[in-house]
Amino acid sequence: MNPAVAVRGLTKRYGELVAVDSVDFDVATGEVFGFLGPNGAGKSTTIKMLCTLVEPTAGQASVAGFDVVRQRDDVRRHIGLVFQDPTLDQYLTADQNLQMHAELYGVPRSALKPRMTHVLEMVGLVERRSALVSTYSGGMKRRLEIARGLLHAPRVLFLDEPTVGLDPQTRSSIWRYINELRQREDITIFLTTHYMDEAEYCDRIAIMDHGNIVAMDTPEALKASVGKDRVQITTKDDEAAKIALQHRFDLAATIAEGQLTFAVAAGEEFVPRLFAELGIPIKSVSVSRPSLDDVFMSYTGTTIRDAEAEAGNQWMMRMVANRGGR
């Protein structure tokens, strides 16, 4: 089947900074494809290039079969966009927001009414359709944006951090809608997130770091590729145990929140050896399969939280530098 999104050597440079560095990937039609990575990794820039909002410095990309540079309006008509930041008119009602969108996207007038009801039903906002958007909660606004993104029956729906800034309950309800959507509509969903638990919902994920895709596969395969289980123990003397682990087993452990954590292949078989050879009394043991956090760690050498903090600092420094230069 033809890919819904095809990207070859896509690059974006801002002066010295390489935001996206020659990225290649395909997204199959009907797939839920997730872009995972800290802020500043190049996710948003990539998505903006695919949505025709930013022109690539080099490389090419097609979305729904149209070239993002040469067939810009065709791409635009076949994609739905839900941005990180709200883009609704708060002073209009939900219905008026949808009507406005339909006019801008050239939805045939005869199809408009049923289509509006359909998308509003999908996100559970039919009862509130005549209310001003300013009276909506954050979660309702996001749902309305998703409904609006679907109004013109796009082939690819782009969701840039669809659940950022929402409470856990609303986040899970947004995901319920997204899952329903993939079942009911013939649509490809392309999303970015920095929540590891949400990446699990995707058919495939690509991990992005410093402008490159460092890994791309199904969540299961990525976790299997790490090849190691996570073992957490508490002992009588954690410091001594850490040194012992290094000496006897050549394992680098970290001490956090009163326990020792390390990664080892076939963790369950390792536990008996640990008891026999560590030489320090062990109080508790737990072995868990690798999570996407571990996947991220193993491919980027840092946790997503640390990567975020680092990106945040760089951003701050850039801001300060810009200020000074003005």
Partner: protein, 290 residues
């Protein structure tokens, strides 16, 4: 990565026939409609934008007439200031309407419009028509006060002034949009507004007759495009007044270029050309942005 990605990207779908001009016109209308919905919903704004011209006309106009009473004979200063008040109402509303672009940008809605498969000119033109309509509507409210300012309710006068206000409103909104095109923050736009509005207004001949001015002021008023919009309105109003010719001539000397009185047609043409020019710059700026 396991997948082989050496084959080039070939666009698979044939382009759907372009939506074309009709679609863009549909976009102009919907952007205009949105401005209308927002204007009629914001009653407070309608009232507050009336306060300034009304204050100007009745408080300043009445108060200052005690100084000028002898020299203008039976012609009230309010009547003289009336075209200025009309222009003022249009000027302030038009700039405020253009400010909504910055507002939309700050609140994200501009993005929804800019990512749509519509030509940029359609969005800018819709905004401009929307602002022009609201500004003219505001002018019409002042037009309704003609009688209180000593200006007769003549149908031809009202029609002519209405059309002139429409043109003025269009040009001023285009000016506002051109200014707003690159501004990111609402506060910055308001600051620029404050900086531009008062000089524009003071130098437009809305407050004093343009004859017998010192050279520097003469030059400044002739450069100001607003001058060419205020003067036709004043001419139309004065054509319907009954006052001694000497007074009329002193209060309504018209715009002169080195002694030559610029005809109304040319004045209006200047205003229209400025409007089209500034709108084009505005569209061009939006094309470049993102």
């Amino acid at each position: 990565m396991a997948t082989t990605l050496d084959q080039p990207v070939t666009p698979l779908a044939a382009p759907v026939p372009a939506l074309g001009l009709r679609h863009d016109i549909r976009a102009v209308r919907v952007v205009w409609q949105r401005e209308m919905i927002r204007f009629t919903r914001d009653r407070l704004r309608i009232v507050t934008s009336l306060i300034q011209p009304v204050l100007f006309l009745f408080v300043l106009g009445t108060g200052l007439s005690t100084i000028t009473a002898g020299s203008t004979q039976n012609l009230n200063l309010r009547t003289f200031m009336y075209p200025g008040a009309l222009s003022m109402a249009v000027l302030f509303t038009a700039m405020f309407s253009a400010a909504s672009i910055v507002w939309d940008r700050e609140f994200g809605f501009l993005r929804e419009m800019l990512v749509a498969p519509v030509s940029r000119w359609a969005i800018v033109l819709g905004k401009c028509f929307g602002g022009a309509t609201t500004a003219t509507a505001q002018g019409v409210l002042i037009l309704a006060l003609a009688g209180v300012a000593g200006v007769p309710y003549s149908p031809t006068l009202i029609l002519v002034v209405f059309l002139e206000l429409l043109l003025l409103a269009f040009t001023l909104t285009a000016f506002g949009i051109m200014t707003a095109a690159r501004i990111q923050q609402f506060q910055s736009f308001m600051a620029i507004n404050q900086m531009l509005l008062m000089p524009l207004f003071f130098l437009s001949g809305a407050l004093f007759p343009l004859g017998n001015l010192p050279v520097w002021l003469q030059v400044a008023t002739r450069i100001n495009p607003l001058t060419y919009a205020v003067d036709p309105v004043r001419r139309a109003v004065f054509a319907h007044l009954h006052a001694p010719p000497a007074v009329i001539h002193r209060l309504n000397p018209g715009v002169t270029w080195g002694g030559w009185r610029v005809p109304t047609g040319i004045e209006l043409l200047i205003v229209a050309a400025m409007g089209v020019g500034m709108l084009s710059i505005g569209i061009w700026q939006f094309r470049k942005a993102e």
